[in-house]
Subunit: 303 residues, 5 copies
C-alpha cells in the first residue's frame, strides 16, 4: 500500500517508460509523414478524435472502478481475517472448560491455537504473493506440524486442518461442549472463506480484452489526433501528444496495479503489516509481555 508520503517521481515514470517511448516513436513517425506527404494525407473529420476519446474514457472509467473494487475487496478480506483471528482466540478462551484439560494448562493450549493462527496469516500472505509460504513458521508452530505441512500443496489449508484436528481433540476431552465446538468450527469456515476469496482475486485475470482495447484505442487516438492537427506541424506537437498519452497510460497502469493486490509490489494489500498487527493483538490477548513492533513503512509504501 502506498503511504501518504511523497511518492518518488522515478517510481511513477518507471511504470510507463516503455509506453512513453513507444508514443514518442509514433509521434515522430507521424510528424515525418505529415512533413513529407502532407498533400497525400486525407482530411480527418473533427468528430473522430472526440468519439475515440469518449470510447477510451468509457473503458478507462469502467476499469478504474472495477479494479478499485477488487483492491477494496482484497482489503476487506484481510480485514475479516483480522476480525476472525481475534474472535477465534477470544471464543476459544471463553468456551474452554479449563478443568477438563488433562495434561496441559489452558494457557498452553490457547497459545498453541493463537500461534498457529498467526502462522496461518503469515503463510497465507506469503502464499498469495508467490513467496515461500513456510518462511519463519518455525517460530509459531511445532516441528511435527511443520513436517505435516510439507506433504501439502496448500499450506494455509493444511494449517486450518491442524486447527480442526486440535478442536476435535479438545472436544473429545470435553474441553469444549458440542455447541461450543460447532461455533468454533464456524470460525474456521469463515477463515476458509476469507482464504478462498483472496485466492479468487489472485487467480482471476481481469478480462484482458478490455486492456487490449484501451491500448489499441489510445494508439488509434494518437494517430488520428496527429493527422487531425494539420496546422501544428513541428516539435511542439510531440510534447503535447506525450502528455496526453501519459495521462491515459498512467491511469490504466494504476488500475492494473490495483487489480492484482497480491503481486509483491508497492501497491499490494499490506499483508505483512496486517499479519504483524494480528500477531501483536493475539499475543496481547494471550497476556504475553513481549510483543513485536508494527512493520515500519519502507520509504513510500507498506508491505
Amino acid at each position: 500500500m502506498l503511504t501518504d508520503t511523497k511518492i518518488p517521481f522515478r517510481y511513477i515514470i518507471k511504470q510507463i517508460r516503455f509506453d512513453i517511448a513507444r508514443v514518442f516513436l509514433v509521434s515522430v513517425f507521424f510528424q515525418m509523414l505529415k512533413y513529407y506527404f502532407s498533400s497525400y494525407l486525407p482530411p480527418i473529420p473533427v468528430q473522430l478524435p472526440t468519439i475515440l476519446g469518449s470510447a477510451i474514457s468509457l473503458i478507462l472509467a469502467f476499469k478504474i472502478n472495477q479494479s478499485y473494487d477488487r483492491w477494496w475487496e482484497a482489503r476487506k478480506v484481510w480485514g475479516a481475517i483480522v476480525n476472525d483471528s481475534r474472535s477465534l482466540l477470544i471464543q476459544a478462551k471463553g468456551f474452554m472448560e479449563e478443568d477438563r484439560l488433562i495434561s496441559e494448562t489452558p494457557q498452553e493450549v490457547l497459545k498453541r491455537i493463537g500461534y498457529r493462527q498467526i502462522a496461518w496469516c503469515y503463510s497465507l500472505g506469503q502464499s498469495l504473493r508467490g513467496l515461500d509460504p513456510v518462511a519463519n513458521l518455525q517460530q509459531y508452530i511445532s516441528a511435527e506440524e511443520l513436517t505435516y505441512l510439507e506433504g501439502h500443496k496448500n499450506k494455509p489449508l493444511a494449517l486450518l486442518a491442524l486447527h480442526n484436528q486440535e478442536l476435535k481433540d479438545l472436544r473429545q476431552q470435553g474441553v469444549f461442549g458440542a455447541y461450543e465446538h460447532v461455533q468454533l468450527a464456524t470460525m474456521l469456515v469463515r477463515l476458509c472463506d476469507s482464504m478462498g476469496m483472496a485466492e479468487r482475486i489472485n487467480s482471476t485475470v481481469f478480462p484482458v480484452t478490455y486492456r487490449l482495447f484501451i491500448h489499441l484505442f489510445i494508439y488509434l487516438f494518437l494517430i488520428v489526433l496527429s493527422l487531425g492537427l494539420v496546422e501544428t506541424i513541428g516539435l511542439t506537437e510531440i510534447p503535447i501528444l506525450l502528455a496526453l498519452a501519459s495521462t491515459f497510460f498512467l491511469l490504466e497502469k494504476t488500475a492494473k496495479y490495483l487489480q492484482d493486490p497480491f503481486r509483491n509490489r508497492p501497491t499490494d494489500t499490506p499483508v505483512t503489516v496486517i499479519s504483524r498487527t494480528i500477531e501483536i493483538n493475539l499475543k496481547q490477548l494471550l497476556d504475553e509481555k513481549q510483543v513485536p513492533k508494527p512493520v515500519a513503512a519502507e520509504s513510500f509504501y507498506l508491505m
Copy 2:
C-alpha cells in the same frame, strides 16, 4: 478465462467479422449514394452524430458494467463452491465420532463424502455448460449412485440428495450429533444456494432489447456520420467508418461474452480448472498421496 498471454489477433477478429462485413457494405452503399445523389441529400445537423454517439456510450457503459457484474458474480459463486467444498470435508472430519462407526473406517466414509463432493463440482460445471453432466463421474462415485443419478434431470441436485442421505444415515448411527448434523446440513444448503445462483446466471437472458438498441444505434450513427461527412468523399472514409464501428462492436461483443460465463467458450468462468483445484485440495485433506496436476492453459485461455 482468457489468460494474460498474447491473445491471437485471429480470435478477436473472428468475433466481429460479420459485423465488419455489414459495416463495409453499408459504408460502400452510402459512399455511392453520396457520389451519385449528393445534391438530393439533406444537410445533417452537426449535433446529430454527437447525440447518437452519447446514446451509444450510455448503453454501452451500462452493458459493460452489468455484464462484468454477472461475470464476477459467477466467479464468486465458484469461489464459494471452493470454500464450501473444503469446509464440508473439514467439518465432516472434525465432527465425526469415529468409534460410533460400525462397518467402515472413518477414512472410508470421509473419502466417499469427499469424492462425491468432487463429483458434484465436475457435474455442476458440465451441466452449466450444457455438456454431459455424468462424464467421468465413475471415478468418484459408486455404480449404485450412478444408477440413482440416471433417473434425475438435475444431476448435481441428485448428488446433493445423496450427500443428504449419507449424513442422515451417519446421524442415525450416532456418528454425528444432532447439532453437528444440522451444521453439516447447513453446508449443503450453502452448496445448493451456489448451484442455484450459477443456474440463475446461466438461465437469465440479459435484457435483449438493450442489445438490439446498441446495434440499431451503431448503424444509425454510421449512416448519419457518413451523410454528415460531405467534404470527405472517397475511399478514405471507409476505413475510418470501419475503425469506428469495430470499436463499438468489439466492446459490445466482449460484454456479451462476459454476460454468459457458462457457454463453453474461452471467456467462460474456468469451472474445470476450479473443479480440479477442489479435487487436489480435497484429496490432500484426505491425506492421499496421488493428486492430479492442475489443468494447464490451452494456448491463451483456461477452461
Copy 3:
C-alpha cells in the same frame, strides 16, 4: 423474460407508438411555426440543446441502471426461492426420524410438504402478477387447506402458516428434534423474506418525478433543437427528430418495463417458468416418476 430469439418489430414499435405520434405532431407544429414566423423566432444558442442533451442522458443513465438493479434483484429473489424450496425438502427429509411417525408414511408427509411448497411458488407468482392466487392449487394441496386459504387476503402467507403448523405437529410427535425444528423454521423465515422482497419491489413505485422530468426534457430538447436547426426547414427535419426522440423514448420505456418485473408482461421475471422448474425438482426429489415438462417459450418470451 424476453428470449434470445428475434423480437418482433411490431412489439417494439407498439410500446412507443403514442410517444412517436406526439413527437410527430410537435415536429409538424414547429415546422409550420418556422415556416410562417421564422423572422420572429429568437436565435437559439448552440449550447442549449447540448446541455439539455446531457441532462437527459444523466437521468436516463440513472434510470437504466436502477431499473436493471430492480429487475436483477427480482430475479435473485426468485433464484433464492428455487434454492430454499429445494433445501426445505432436502432438510425435511434429512432431519426426519421416520419411526416416530404414527399414522403416515414418511413419503406421504414429505409429499405433502413438497406439494405445498410447489403451491406456494405458483401462488406467490400469481399473486405478484395480480392474477388469481389460488388457480390450480387443488392439484397440490388438500381441500381443507384450500378452505383455510379462503379466509386470508395474503394466500402465500397463509400457505407458510400451514407449513409452520405442519412442522409444529411433526415436532410434537417427535419426528423432528428441537434443533432440527428450529432449523426448518429458519427455512420458512427465508421463504418469508423472499416473499416480502418480491412484494416490496412490486409495491414500490420508482420515483415518478424522474420519469416526468425525462419526458419534459425530451420535449424541451425537441423544441429547442427544432428551433435551433434554422437552416434545415422542410420534410427532412421530421424523420431526424423522430429518430432521435424514438431513441430516448425506447430507452426510457425499456427501463420502465424492467423496473416492474411482475406486471404480467413479456418482460416479466419468468415466475411461471421458475415455479415449474421448482415443481420438477421437488417431484424428482420425492422420487416421483411423472414430472411435468418445462414451460415452453411463447414466440419471443418466457413467462
Copy 4:
C-alpha cells in the same frame, strides 16, 4: 411515496419557486448589465460554460445516485420489518408448547405479542417522522405497558424491551425451550437492526458541501452563460436561462427529497401504509375476522 397517478403541476413548481425567483432576478440583472455596460464586459471563452456544465452534471449524477440508494435502503429496511414481523409471530406460534401455559390461552399470548409488534411498527414510523410515537398505541398494548413507555425516550426500543421480557417469562414457564427462545431473541435482534438502520438514515446528513457546490456552480454557470450569449440580448434570453436552471434545480430537489425519506413529506417511505399492511397480515395470522382496510392514497401520494 408518490403514486403513479398524475402529480399536480403546482406540487412540482412549489418546490423550486424560490430558486426560480432568484434565477429570474439574476437573469434580469445580467441582462441590464449587458445592456448598459456591454463594451466593458470581458469576452467569455466558449469552453467555460461547458466545463462548468460537466462539473454540475458530475455532482448531480453522484447526488441522484446516492440519494436513490438511501431511499431504496430505507424501503428495504421497512421491507425487512414486514418480513420479520410476520416471521416473529409465525415462529412464536410454531415454537410454543401450549400445555405449559398456566393462566392464559395460547391465543391470548400470541395476540399480545402480535399486537405489540403492530404497535412497534406504528411507533417506529411515527418516531422517525418526528411525530408522536405513542399516538393510538392504546389499541394495541395494555395500560401498564403504555406507562412503562412513558419513562423512555426511545419508545420503539422500550417496546422491544417489553417483547424481550415477555419471551423471557414464557421461557421460564417452559413455553419455549432454550433453543427456541434464542431463535426468537434473534428475531428481536433483527428488528433492532432494522430500527437502527432507519435511525441511521434519518440522522445522517448527506454531505452538505456537495449541495452547496451544486448551487454555487449553477449560479456561476448562469452568470457565465449569460455573459457568453453576447449576441442574444433581450427578453428571449430570460426564459431560456429559467428553463435551464429549473432543470438543474428540479433534479437537485428531487434528490434532496429522496435522501431523507422520513420527513413527513409526500416523497417519504410510506411507513403508515406498510405498518397497516403488517397489521392486516398479523391479524390474519391471529385468525381475527376483523381486519382494517389498507391505507388509501391521498390524491397523488401514499404515506
Copy 5:
C-alpha cells in the same frame, strides 16, 4: 458530520487556500509569458483542454463516489455498533437466569455489562481518532479493569476480552446456559467485526496516485487553457482560471475529507454523538433515571 445549518464561508475557503494561491501564481506567470513571448508560443489545439477536462472529471467522479462509499460504510459500521450494543444488553437480560446469581443482584451484573459496553464505544471512538482511548473511562469501568487496560495497546479489544471473561464467569455459575452463552459470544464477534471494519477504513490509505494525478491534471489543464485563450489577455483571465480551478479543488478536497472519517475533523463520522446515544439508550434499558443529554452541535458540525 456537518449539519444542515449554514457552513461558514471561511471554513470552505480555508481548505483550499494553498491551492488557490498556487493557481494564482501559475495564472500570473502564464499571463506574463503570453504578454512578453506571445509570438513564440505554440498554438494549442482546441481538443486538448477538452480531453484533459474529461480525464479530470473521470477521476474526480471516481474519487467522489468511492470516498462517499467509505464515509457511508464508516457510518454503517457505527450504526451496527448502536444496534449490537443495544442487542447485547437486551439479550443478556433476556437470557439471564437470575436465581443462579450468587453474590450479586441481576441489576448489578447488567449494569456492569452495559457500562463496559458504553466504555467500549467511547474508547473505540477516541482510539480511531488518535485521541486518548481511556479518557473518562473511570466513570464506566472499575479500577481493576482500568489497570488491565494499561497493559494493552488496543484498548477496545481489551474491553472485549473483559466482556468475554465476564460472560464466561457467568456461564460457569450457570447464569447463562451453553446455548445462550454462545449466542452472547456471537454478539461479541459482531462487535469485534465492527471494530475491525472501522480500523480497516482508518488504516487504509486511498490509492494516492489518483490524488496525485488529479492535481497534475488540474495544473496541466490550467496551463493548456491559459495558453489556449490567446484572445483574452489581461486581468479578466485570472479570476476565470481561479474560479475554474477552485471548483475542481473544492470537489477533490471534499472527497478527501469524506474518505477518512476518523481524523478529528468537522467532516468526521460523529462517533462522540453516537456513543452518547448508545449511553442514553443503554442507561434507559437499565432503568436508570439519570441519563445524560445528547451531544449538542458545535456551530456547524457534530462530533
